[in-house]
Amino acid sequence: MITLPSYLFISFVLFICGLVVMIARKNIVAIMLGIELILNAAALNFAAYTKFINQNLDGHIISLFIIVIAAAEAAVGLAIVIRFYQIKESIHIDDATQLQS
């Protein structure tokens, strides 16, 4: 029951859900929700391979760094989103066509 392929399948579902959110939604904050799902799928894969294949805790370290980087990415990304909303009065992704206005 609790085997490596079941964890890989859960991670696959998380990844596909994040991809669909990133493609289908037009809100920039919603796209960042999709990024969080994808990063979690990757971190879950590292932890699962650590338990079932090599067992030397390097995967846990990498999962830890993925969590750290996801937090930093969320902070900077949301700052950019809020700044974009102050300038454009919109958070539709199709309005983000210029780097500098």
Partner: protein, 178 residues
């Protein structure tokens, strides 16, 4: 037995939360469903003997990232904003035969790749299960011995993200002519 109950519960919460993030119409609800999905991932870490990872996942995501997302949604118009609705109905190029055939082709390719990976993963010889013991001490030792460069770099990254987020989000007035 307890492991299996925890695993099934966490798997259902994780996948259900992720699907609810996709199909929820309200962005605020989607964010709360994301929180449920992250809780499920923390439960999966617990079934993988990764106790420190589970705790970190709960602290960082539930305490930090999801709250930040909720604040960002509220600061950018909340649920009244029209783009908070599900975006797929707004795309005019979707829903015809061409996109459906492309989606079918992508589904076939993805299922083939998934089958291949899962078959290989099932064929890998699983070593004996790790004993239940705390990983905190070993992780701390590894972080300051083998992975000390990445550890220090991540501290620089966090400092840069902190300063950068404050600089980007600060309100600028027109007379500043930055």
């Amino acid at each position: 037995m307890f492991d299996q109950i925890l695993f099934i519960l966490s798997a259902v919460i994780t996948m259900g939360g992720a699907l609810a993030v996709v199909f929820s119409n309200n962005l605020m609800h989607a964010c709360v469903y994301l929180l449920a999905s992250l809780f499920g991932v923390a439960g999966l870490y617990a079934t993988l003997n990764a106790d420190f990872l589970a705790a970190t996942q709960l602290v960082v995501y539930a305490g930090g990232v999801v709250i930040l997302m909720l604040f960002a949604i509220m600061l950018t118009g909340g649920v009244q904003s029209t783009v908070n609705k599900f975006g797929i109905v707004k795309v005019p190029g979707m829903g015809n035969a061409k996109t459906y055939s492309a989606a079918g082709l992508a589904a076939v390719v993805i299922s083939f790749v998934l089958f291949k990976i899962l078959k290989n993963a099932a064929a890998m010889p699983a070593k004996g299960q790790m004993a239940y013991e705390s990983t905190v001490e070993k992780l701390g030792g590894l972080l300051v011995s083998d992975h000390v460069l990445a550890f220090e770099l991540s501290s620089i990254l966090l400092l840069g993200a902190l300063v950068g987020a404050a600089v980007i989000a600060r309100p600028r007035h027109i007379k500043d002519d930055v």
